[in-house]
Symmetry: D2
């Protein structure tokens, strides 16, 4: 596959979306993002690395971090995780409390905020430092020792975090948190506020393209487990637009309100696209367009 | 009206419900209540006072306190309150988050937990000491200077209060709290944990039977405002069973999970019945039966 | 009480709402109503009759008919009705399917469309002619032998009645209809499409003010049963605005999208006000204002 | 791939589930199915055909027919279909009205009952005979001229079809049906009541494995469109358990309450497994187990 040509075409298509969508503005630190920035990178299973545009510029990874906290919680604790969180699409906006109430405090899947709080809680129990575990994994896989949480973003999330606090207390009221609410929220904000580039993220996510094998050749999880993480990414990874993302792009992927989307071509490569303007579902307009272009031109969707 | 005879008949009917229902057990302090206790009192607008059974024994008034926090918030702040809380029946269990989410953080009415948190918040803004204001009102009207918050109950509520914390944070996320979440919760727990007897409550509630006039003859609120509080009590005062309570008893009233119900015969009297065993909607089996008997025998429902 | 003076004051207040609200337009026959029409009538328990404005002009009574179908179903069949329909406020727009699904085909109360279909079904079983029973009762009580269903309105309701058909089939799917869906819908549309005036309705509704006694002195239902119907009217009679109607007006009442509201002053009188413009909850702006004025000036709300 | 060996292993695993789950019993015709029957078949893109157990025994395909009505509606009418039906997972039981009400009569996806009614309606508009179009397609692709609707099942569905009638009327009330409710329901019941075998279904479904090319080599739809149908199958094809099916099996697939599941290995084969006992989500216990075994042993899931 000629990834260089594909990246150029994808970037051109993304560029044509300029002006569409809105930068997330629920906290000042995110609202300050450059709305016209765009970057994209590919890391193949063979260790090749390609990039275009602002592919080495760090951005707030936000919910993309949930892919890593899930993988690490499964790697450390195995299937016990699934007793506290489901793996069904939510069919509701990503921060909804409604479903949580109906379903007795068991969040629908690990990628809605409620589910990610449970995953963070379990990772905290397993490692003693949930956000540290995510950060260390990203540093090691990307080879970028400077990769870190942006403390301004984390503080801003906490300050504006009444809704996440509501979710956490609600889950706790159903007995589905092992750690104090404050601890879980702190680590949740800390891993969501990590700043990383497309380059960093494709390297860190390439273990899923290699069916569980890290960049150094060691295994993080079994082949079967990696395929299952990919399945959850496909059905639940892009908020309430997972069906549409599967329809248009056809790859497992995880998006964040910072504008990044990390997608997996199983057996081939990890791809990350980034542009801060979001559509109504909270996914980057430029990144969805770029990924759509890449799979349309290459014919390499999973379907 | 021969209140002595009515109280005896109501008490006999309540006695016949022995064994029905379950004592609230979500916190240990409530679970310790004597399940077979029963008391009932009447305070007429003319200052007569009648009682039967355990009518002078204090119990945890819990949500009955919401009648007083509402009345005081209206007396101090007037109709501005209704910008932050509605006055429609909720049609859902009393601690539901679902409706709150659909309706953008404006609780349906002042008597579901969410609404009572908003009322407590506004009373805190108006008085600087929301729970103190409720306590002082109860002391003054009842003439019982020893009436107080039970600190064990308040602490226990706080300890098991993840759901109320979730509600408060959720309301705050919609910008509908003026004070910090912790402050609002503390005062909410403090006024719910007041211990008072049927005697205390009928005296303190008799201002609604006198259309707004306190026991000392001074006016707390206008006649029209008192009638409106009675209307809210009737449509929203007994959790998700307000329709059934209106159908069976036919009086405005407010119940609490401590087993008390304070009801109003407008222009005539305040009545309070207490028995710790609750039905599925959270209302005292004995108290509902006693009040039903009283209105059936006397024909004095409002309808 | 000087009803003549009260009616004049109420009419003046209603007049001042001219231009507010919108005439129901979901079927052409209703959309053709004169938006500025207004009438109001009072029938006392002693047989006095007062009217103002268009009080003798017939209009489509629509959901006001549900008061009569409920009363007749109870009079003929007693409390068995309550096995198939509840008596709690719905807390949702009047034609909602959501609650019906959650609660297994038992409608919340007899006045939401779903509940009125169940009531019509039971009245059909009891009388063999549900809409005829309502019509005959109205004719006899009002002394108006010409009072009848408007066939154009009934046909138009049926033609645009997919939502009511959905409700009926849904209730049937839960086994909560005794008669065929088509029969129930036909009779439902037929009694809702009755045309009657304020004069007709206060006479027909005065049995509730007389605690169950018809205009000819015979008893339709017991005193206790009449009071209970009044209780259901208060908590559920005005769609999703029952709490607000109790708060503002403070009387049991039933409204219809034709713009009529029939209200009860227990022990005193029946009052009906009519104006076709509706507020967002589906209640007549002019009629609510007129009734609010009447109870405010007279101080005769039930609270 | 040694399909013969895989089928034997899958059948053995399915056999071990004997006694688990319950045969659908909402209509007598389905309840009569042999609970211990099991069959499985594979049709490769190269025209090879394999089968095991009762793979040539016809069963009621039920919702599996929705795959074909969707494909034909898209083949005849293109993307216009997506204006009337979404492609997001529903996150609710398959026959729910709740989401339909919230989302204004646009069903979430083509595979919940509501969505399948809209698809049937559009196919009726496009072909003049929606159920005939599905039947003819299945006959031609399977080469089985005797394949037909079971009239007893269709009549039984109609007789017990109040809930589907409710859905159809509700969609019609939102203006989202082009044909009369009765017509749509008749054709819906007729294509769901088709009896076909695993053999018939893998042949008829193999066009999706061949990216849109029929068994005779002609093209039904574009490659891109076929991949998109596969995407919708994966995210929405197995009721409220789509996430779990993707997680365990990892293939696009469509299940029916008759116990059949038709799944696609893109570029390789169509697979169908059948066993009448259903799990709580309405999917065949034996078929899910058999497909899980097949992808686990072969490692050929799409992820």
């Amino acid at each position: 596959m000629d990834y260089r040509r594909l990246l150029d075409a994808a970037a051109a298509a993304a560029l044509a979306t300029a002006g569409q969508g809105r930068v997330a503005d629920y906290i000042p630190a995110l609202a300050a993002a450059d709305p016209e920035a765009f970057g994209m990178a590919v890391a193949t299973v063979d260790g090749e690395l390609y990039g275009v545009g602002d592919w080495e510029r760090p951005f707030s990874i936000q919910s993309v971090s949930k892919l890593f906290s899930l993988a690490l919680a499964l790697a450390h604790g195995g299937d016990a995780l699934w007793r506290g969180v489901g793996r069904e699409p939510s069919g509701n906006p990503f921060n909804s409390l409604v479903q949580l109430e109906t379903e007795h405090g068991i969040p629908r899947n690990p990628f809605i905020n409620a589910g990610a709080l449970v995953v963070t809680d379990r990772l905290q129990s397993l490692t003693g430092d949930a956000s540290g575990a995510v950060r260390e994994f990203l540093r090691r896989e990307s080879g970028n020792p400077l990769l870190d949480t942006d403390p301004v973003v984390a503080a801003s999330e906490a300050e504006h975090g009444h809704r996440n606090a509501a979710l956490a207390h609600f889950i706790a009221s159903h007995g589905n948190l092992e750690n104090p609410v404050e601890t879980v929220l702190d680590h949740y904000y800390a891993h969501c506020a990590i700043a990383a580039s497309c380059r960093d993220l494709v390297l860190a996510g390439s273990f899923l393209a290699r069916y569980g094998v890290r960049t150094d050749g060691t295994r993080l999880m079994s082949r079967s487990e990696a395929k299952r993480v990919n399945a959850v990414l496909l059905t639940c990874g892009t908020y309430d637009a997972a069906g549409d993302f599967a329809f248009r792009v056809g790859l497992p992927g995880k998006s964040g309100v910072g504008g990044g989307i990390l997608a997996i071509l199983p057996g081939r490569a990890a791809v990350c696209a980034w542009g801060p303007r979001l559509d109504q579902a909270g996914n980057s307009v430029a990144a969805v367009t770029a990924l759509d272009t890449l799979t349309t031109l290459s014919g390499c969707s999973i379907f």
